[in-house]
Symmetry: C2
Subunit: 297 residues, 2 copies
């Protein structure tokens, strides 16, 4: 007799200020298709990107507690660069389960990708202001230059992900970043997308970087790190985790469709309709019914 | 013996989700230079433009109560199109002082300006979605077409108020609006700026509208309505109010500098530094020290 097949899948809580973090959820589903996912977008209080550390920490801690206490999450992925940059400590203090942010996996992937040791990071104002990527990259022995690109999120949300005007904004931002890098005598060969909205602009961004520059998506990096952590914790009685390694093998070069058994529950603190409508563009599949939750405030 | 000169000036509370409402405050100072102003920017929870009616009403009511209960405001100006559109009733229920929004003054000014009776309104997503301008304009016998322009606020906040790219975004938005108006057989001769950030784009917008189209700034319209309301309430013992009428005479064609005695207190729920730095661009003078307040949530 074995209880293996009747073991309930672990719940992974995924948190963002909005729906950008659904790009992280998409990458997680590819790697851990048999987990149960509870995703919370704190849409009533977005964007975090322009707010202070104190405020972001309070909002993020409340959100994390909802996922752990109300949804039974056994593992949290902070699928929000701003919250990872400014509130990872506050979240870890607020809950007792393991918490993974997107900054450290992004920095580790940059370390693997870069040969010159010089990397560029683009992100929201608050993420850049925190210098969390700079600190994480320097801990990996990299030299780093960060730039806030506050127009990119609104352009993605306007749906202009393949618009010439968006290409021009990217050209301006990356041009300024390259000029600054040259002034500092840096030779960057790697660009980190430090915001979960940016993967939707990846084709335009890749057309705008110099040949040979690698683009690192911190959503992919974080999902990969989460899957490895889960595999590390795998026990023979927990089949979800070992399957993720096998699933990884045929992911190369495309998005695999999620296994039919992947259970996803989405929650938002506001604008459920907007979440349902825009979320599918980030998740690359329908998000299903989104449940409204009230975290107060 | 008269107590006229020692009467404390009345406090006018001015409220916005951010600092855009400082364009309304600027217009108010011009007209009521001897009032005391308490301005609150609910920056911890901005932008309201993408949030739901329920959430906006809760935030706006808390903010209005702060201005009345903590700051002693005897009159409130809701210097936020989204809050005026979605939460004027909720604010009026939450406080006992008179409350003036920006929508009705904007619609009334459009009625005065338009000869064809067809007007266009550009605003945030939530303001347009509420159709508050459409309702107010129709009550004045106007035909109206509204359009959400979600990129304009981020472009203003990026400081690209005189950037060719911003001009191009405006050209695209207004082109779409004109095509839609033509399809509905409208002949608009008036464009209402239904967002307090848009006055900073007025030069670019005026270059992009057809000759003969008048641009109405709802910030100016609301300030004018507030000044008239104050004059209506004026008593011989209240010199502030009667002076505003005289001040109006030399306002034509330029911004008069505020009287030195204008007392302004600015409060924000987050990012005091950013408020102080960006606010002066909207107020066209330094905002002074901004005080951080916690409304909870």
């Amino acid at each position: 007799v074995t209880t293996q097949t009747t073991t309930a899948p672990p719940t992974i809580g995924v948190f963002d200020s909005g729906f950008g973090g659904l790009t992280v959820l998409r990458a997680l589903i590819e790697r851990l298709p048999r987990a149960r996912f509870a995703f919370l977008g704190d849409t009533a209080r977005l964007p975090y990107g322009s707010k202070s550390r104190r405020t972001i920490a309070r909002y993020a801690a409340q959100s994390a507690q909802f996922l752990v206490r109300e949804q039974g999450a056994e593992f949290l992925v902070i699928a929000c660069n701003t919250a990872s940059a400014l509130a990872l400590d506050a979240i870890q203090d607020a809950v007792t389960v393991p918490v993974l942010g997107v900054i450290e996996p992004g920095a580790a992937a940059a370390r693997q990708a870069s040969r010159t040791g010089d990397v560029l990071v683009i992100a929201t104002e608050a993420t850049v202001h925190s210098h969390a990527y700079a600190a994480a990259c320097r801990a990996h022995g990299l030299r780093v230059l960060e730039k806030a690109c506050p127009l990119l999120v609104p352009l993605v949300e306007e749906g202009w992900t393949d618009h010439p005007l968006t290409a021009e904004v990217i050209r301006i931002y990356l041009g300024e970043l390259r000029a600054e890098a040259a002034a500092q005598n840096l030779h960057p060969d790697t660009l980190v997308l430090g915001c979960t909205h940016y993967p939707l602009l990846r084709p335009l961004i890749e057309r705008s970087v110099r040949p040979g520059v690698k683009v690192i998506d911190s959503a992919e990096s974080a999902a990969e790190a989460a899957a490895q952590l889960f595999n590390g914790r795998a026990t023979p009685g927990c089949p979800i985790l070992s399957e993720s390694a096998a699933a990884g093998a045929d992911r190369v070069g495309g998005t695999s469709s999620p296994a039919p058994q992947t259970e996803i529950h989405c929650f938002a603190t506001d604008s459920v309709e907007k979440f349902e409508q825009m979320g599918s563009r980030f998740l690359e599949r329908p998000v299903g019914a989104v449940e409204l939750v009230d975290l107060g405030g």
